[in-house]
């Protein structure tokens, strides 16, 4: 099955390093690579030869990222959360839409309703998740409700020891959510674990949600195993509770349907068309199934080429579901000893 991805790697490398179709960003790097990407990169394993350029996404002029072969297409720019410093920027025209179609099917397999109206209590603005959730709602013919939600402000409050103000900000978001819930028929809630915890601690809002909601999607931050169980069994037993792992760079990795023998309640699966996630040990090699490794991401699309990105997260490597070649990821946790200063996880 990896051979599919291998052929995608070859096609993608040929595209991104062709002077007629590649982006100025990658074309400018070709001579400094020390190898010929078109000749020497034939398989996914060869992606390890590329440097991790993701740090440069914090500063590179966005037009330089757009492949020349796609310059007639409309592109949008999105930013990462900014948890590890200045945000990284990505561009998207059509690829993310294809991935979201696939993710929608995955989520429907879990019991997320095909239609219905959505409430997103998470970041919008430059953050791609807001746009993703809006598209999910639209794909099912539903209305997209949201509130203004600035995760960087929350992180600044938490990071400077003003946790009380952060709590107050969350309450402000929940006040608005309650207003929406009182008059609108919401089927799907998309938010983060800390916001869900705050919702559950507010009886009126919780009762409103519990009685009407069909699916609760959580993402953006890790949740421990017992929290996932409590959401599923105790707080929203009548709804589908599903996690969506992901970030701006890698895209979304929704929870996959439970498999016999799964030891984790929630196993994530990335989009096999464009995304290869490897879990690596300190020696850089992939860890065995059942072991914890750090997330190493390769994104291979005609719009963006991001090989060898070492992420801030760790996860347990889980065997692919039957019929799939994609490893599962379970029990995501933040890699604590990242050298770029303390990671502040706020509410997103």
């Amino acid at each position: 099955m990896t051979s599919d991805f291998d052929s995608r790697v070859r096609k993608s490398v040929a595209w991104h390093f062709d002077p007629d179709t590649g982006s100025p960003f990658w074309l400018g790097k070709r001579s400094g690579l020390g190898f010929d990407p078109v000749r020497d990169v034939q398989t996914a394993a060869d992606l390890a030869r590329f440097p991790d350029v993701s740090e440069e996404l914090r500063t590179v002029p966005v037009p330089d990222l757009i492949p020349r072969g796609l310059r007639d297409k409309p592109f949008r720019v999105f930013e990462s959360g900014g948890t590890t410093g200045a945000p990284k920027r990505i561009i998207d025209s059509e690829v993310r839409g294809r991935m979201l179609e696939w993710a929608r099917d995955q989520l429907m397999d879990l019991g997320v309703p095909a239609g219905g109206h959505w409430l997103h209590l998470g970041p919008g603005g430059p953050h791609v998740v807001g746009s993703d959730v809006a598209r999910h709602a639209a794909m099912g013919g539903g209305v997209f409700h949201t509130v203004d939600f600035d995760p960087r402000w929350v992180k600044r409050l938490v990071g400077s020891g003003r946790g009380d103000l952060a709590d107050e900000y969350i309450e402000h978001l929940l006040d608005q959510a309650e207003t929406i819930m009182r008059s609108q028929d919401i089927s799907v809630l998309n938010t983060t674990p800390p916001v869900l915890e705050a919702i559950c601690a507010r009886p009126d809002l919780y009762d409103l949600l519990r009685s009407g909601i069909e699916a609760v999607l959580w993402g953006g931050m890790s949740a421990d195993q017992e929290t996932i169980r409590l959401l599923d069994e105790e707080f929203f037993p009548q709804a589908t509770v599903a996690g969506v792992y992901g970030n701006s760079l890698m895209g979304v990795a929704p929870q996959r349907a439970a498999q016999p023998g799964d030891t984790h309640r929630c196993v994530f699966q990335p989009y096999p068309e464009t995304t290869l996630v490897q879990l690596v040990g300190e020696d850089g090699h992939e860890v065995a199934y059942g072991e914890r490794g750090r997330v190493l991401l390769h994104l291979v699309t005609e719009e963006m080429f991001l090989p060898n990105v070492l992420e801030r997260d760790t996860a347990i490597r889980v065997e692919p579901a039957p019929g799939s070649a994609t490893d599962g990821l379970a029990d995501i946790r933040t890699f604590r000893s990242l050298g770029q200063g303390e990671i502040i996880e706020g509410v997103y």
Binding site: D224, E226, L230
Partner: protein
Amino acid sequence: MASPTPAVIDPLIAGRTVHSADRSPLTGVLGEPLADIGQAPRLLAVSALRELRERADGLPPGAEIFRRAADLFTDATLDGESPEEYARRVTLGTGLTATTVRLSAAELAAEMRDLTGIARAELPGTDFGPGHRTRWVPRGRLFAAVLASNHPTPSSSWLQALFHGYSVLVRPGSRDPFTPRRLIAALIEAGLPPHRVAFLPSAHAVGEFLLKEADRGIVYGGDRAVASWQDNETVAARGPGRAKALVDVEPDDAVLDHLAESAAFDGGTRCTNLSAVFTSRPVGEVADLLAHRLSALPVLPASDPKASLLVLERSRAEQLERQLAALRETLTDHTGRFDLHDALVRLDDGSFLPRPLVLSADRADHPALGTELPFPFVVVAPWREEDGIAPLRRSLVLNLLTSRRDLIDRAVLEPSIRKITTGTALPWTTPHGIPHDGNYTQFLLEPKGIVGDSRH
């Protein structure tokens, strides 16, 4: 004395054990796995708060339950744990000596048998003549206790809340989940309705959440743990005690014996143990005399009945070693001359024993004054008349060995000094009604007026 199987401990909500998927191992002071603790995430705390609040009616459970529970706590096998096994676990978890653990269990039991007496001593009368009376009632329904592991006796705080009618959520200290767990088992066995109590081993952040959500609460811990609750009306913050003494008399044998016991009672683990001495006499002399006395305390493993000093496991010992090295940079060590042992003794059983330590400072406002460590640790500093009470502020207990009446009066009026002892009296042996840090019963209860004749 190591046990082959670690204790399995899980959250308990309204009598229901929740086997948590999030496990955290507790390593004992000998480096052995002592317990496998299921952690309560914040959502489980939300769940517990809801469940307890729904059925919290404020009715006191009755003194008889606490008397029976006291007997069970000291004598019975509860959840398969004998009293000896309980004591062994607390000793291995906290490093407190077997003697301290045995005495503190007896102390807790004695308080449970006499909660009525404690309350009576801390409350003024309620009879205001015919048709006019007050009743002392809980200020809320839910009480949260965030405990530390320095000593078992602080559990009496939540026992009192429970006694007066609160429903109680306990977040145990990470090294001593055993004491609150056993107390709760004893209470339920004695007839306490299980929905009155929740036991939630958890991260400190979950404890903070409980304190925010409960109507009243108490938090024990270091400066960082209690700082945000310092001026909170609904939460009693119990940080480092910073107990001090002013030695303004000749340091004769009686005074030195008294100071040594103030510093070393219970191994120096109580918040009321002496941690700073100010003196109008020559600082170096007083420090030498005190160091000499404390150096006589024996080096023994915590399990030895004659042991009096706390032991630590390797990681905390190493942390302490770094902290002591930093302190020695700005202070003078007086212990080295008298103590034959290393400052941190590695015992044969694998634990580490910090030796009593006396350091001196060259001025009354030295920043190291106020440092509180879990073993006999005293900083001696100079005091002159013109310093007044300024260096004596921020003390849970201030021991005044002086004949200056005006100074005693000013200390009594100083809000940041919470208790005064004079002469060679010790702070921990007081009758009911002598406040430890304000009137705790009145923190839990408020008076409510009841006016009218009794016929309707």
